[in-house]
């Protein structure tokens, strides 16, 4: 038994995705991405900027799941209109979810099935096309399976490397940095920017990860995802006093 949970290790892996980002807006969508981004800000990446989810830039890191936290310190105003400007300007790293994602990082949050008459209408395109073509994007997948890591997405909302390649210079701001799932961490360092398994979380084997993907993952030098440090575990307890993250990723 390790002295940390899978969710805590995922939070650390997500925090690592933002390492080196400095003075940009991070937009983590979902509880685990929020936890990871706030962990990064409170430890090794203090210049990161975040919104309160409404219209303020806040310099404080609130706990996830609505637990009480420090009095928010507002450092700026960021309504949707300014977010859209900032997206085009590129000083942002978003971590979105993905109902489906393929080997080149094409992401689907729009709908499942035929677009004209979908089996399941999901969120819609939202900001995924504009995010991915304009600035760094990463993805969080809380329940990796062969139904999520698919050979081909039903609808491409987020732009993958194969589509970006065709755009040439027009895609020069496109970067999909990482995918973090409940099983491991991935980048797009394979041939032609194919998705590559970088590390597996504690207790997960490479075979587990490969079995939870419909496409062939690039697997060469796979590490174990690093464990949270004692300091990080302390920060995570403050950021998630009610264990919200463990409800999303058990174990």
């Amino acid at each position: 038994m390790s002295d940390y949970t899978r969710a805590q290790q995922c939070a650390v892996a997500i925090a690592e995705v933002f390492r080196g980002d400095g003075e940009i807006l991070v937009s983590p969508i979902g509880n685990l991405p929020m936890l990871g981004a706030r962990l990064a800000k409170l430890t090794f990446e203090p210049e990161l900027m975040m919104t309160d989810g409404v219209a303020m830039l806040v310099d404080t890191c609130q706990p996830v799941g609505g637990a009480p936290g420090p009095e928010p310190v507002v450092e700026g105003y960021m309504p949707y209109r300014q977010i859209f400007e900032l997206i085009s300007n590129g000083k942002r790293h978003v971590m979105m979810g993905a109902t489906q994602i393929d080997r080149y990082g094409n992401q689907n949050i729009a709908c499942i099935g035929d677009f004209e008459k979908p089996k399941a209408q999901l969120l819609g395109m939202r900001g995924a096309p504009g995010n991915t073509i304009n600035h760094t994007t990463s993805y969080w997948v809380p329940n990796q399976s062969a139904k999520v890591f698919v050979e081909k997405v039903d609808v491409a909302s987020g732009v993958g490397y194969d589509s970006a390649e065709k755009l040439g210079n027009g895609a020069r701001f496109h970067e999909i940095r990482n995918v973090v799932s409940n099983l491991g961490v991935f980048d797009f360092g394979g041939p032609d920017h194919a998705m590559r398994l970088v590390s597996t979380h504690t207790g997960v084997t490479v075979d587990d990860v490969v079995a939870a993907a419909s496409f062939e993952l690039v697997v060469d030098d796979v590490q174990e995802t690093r464990a949270p440090t004692a300091d990080e575990l302390e920060v995570l307890k403050q950021l998630d006093p009610n264990g919200v993250a463990s409800k999303e990723v058990p174990g």
């Binding site: 677009f115 819609g124 027009g170």
Partner: protein
Amino acid sequence: MDKRTTEKEVVAELRDGMTIGIGGWGSRRKPMSIVREIIRSDLKDLTIVSYGGPDVGLLCATGKVKKVIYGFVSLDSIPLEPHFRIARQTASIEAVELDEGMFQWGLIAAAHRLPFLPTRAGLGSDIEKYNPDIKTVKSPYADGETFLAMPALDLDVALIHMNRGDERGNGQFLGPDFFFDDLYCYAAKRRFMSVEKIVPTKDLLNEGSFHTLKINRTMVDGVIEAPNGAHFTECPPDYNRDEAFQKAYAATAKDPDVWAEFKKTYLDTASEAEYQEAVKNR
């Protein structure tokens, strides 16, 4: 000029097949009292242009809509709008699904009376595949870059909701985010604004700083005083979203009998006043 009017008078101006832009965002500051009046009317085949929330869901569920142009349709605290999902999954509406930023660009183009604006948003995604009418354009300058040419989202009518206004059509937002409501007005031929409260012009600055006076009277043809008019969407600082009501609304998508009951109680009301009374008495 006194531009005060009513939901009924506004809806009497609308015609089948019109393109109607609805301000707000998701389940936030939507001109719901006007939406409810549209539901009471015989209007049909509307094209709705919206950062969609229950405005889109309700209009779809009541058969008013031919086409929806949107970046998303969400109830915020309930991420997926259930009645909109039914409309999509039964293909009862035509869907033009855009990136949120493209959508704004289309409104800006229309507001500036331009046929299109270039953007990178949408390139490389499936938006081009599902919208073959949206073309690309090559930069005429040395860079020669190819952009998506987002067409103007020209509107017949814009409907918005503000916190305060005066009888001449000046509007004031007091919440955290104005969204894109000015662009809807500039993009439309006819513009109608509901407000929580009409105040004398000289009192507008008592309500909030000059930064909040974002709608001026060139942008508005009619103003409706509609207290609680954005219900059940939020309208801060006047009121929060009515989460219990929204939850009940969302649940109606699961059961036709529950929907029929909801419709009878709240939508088949004779007037906005009767709706507000039904909400109060629940």
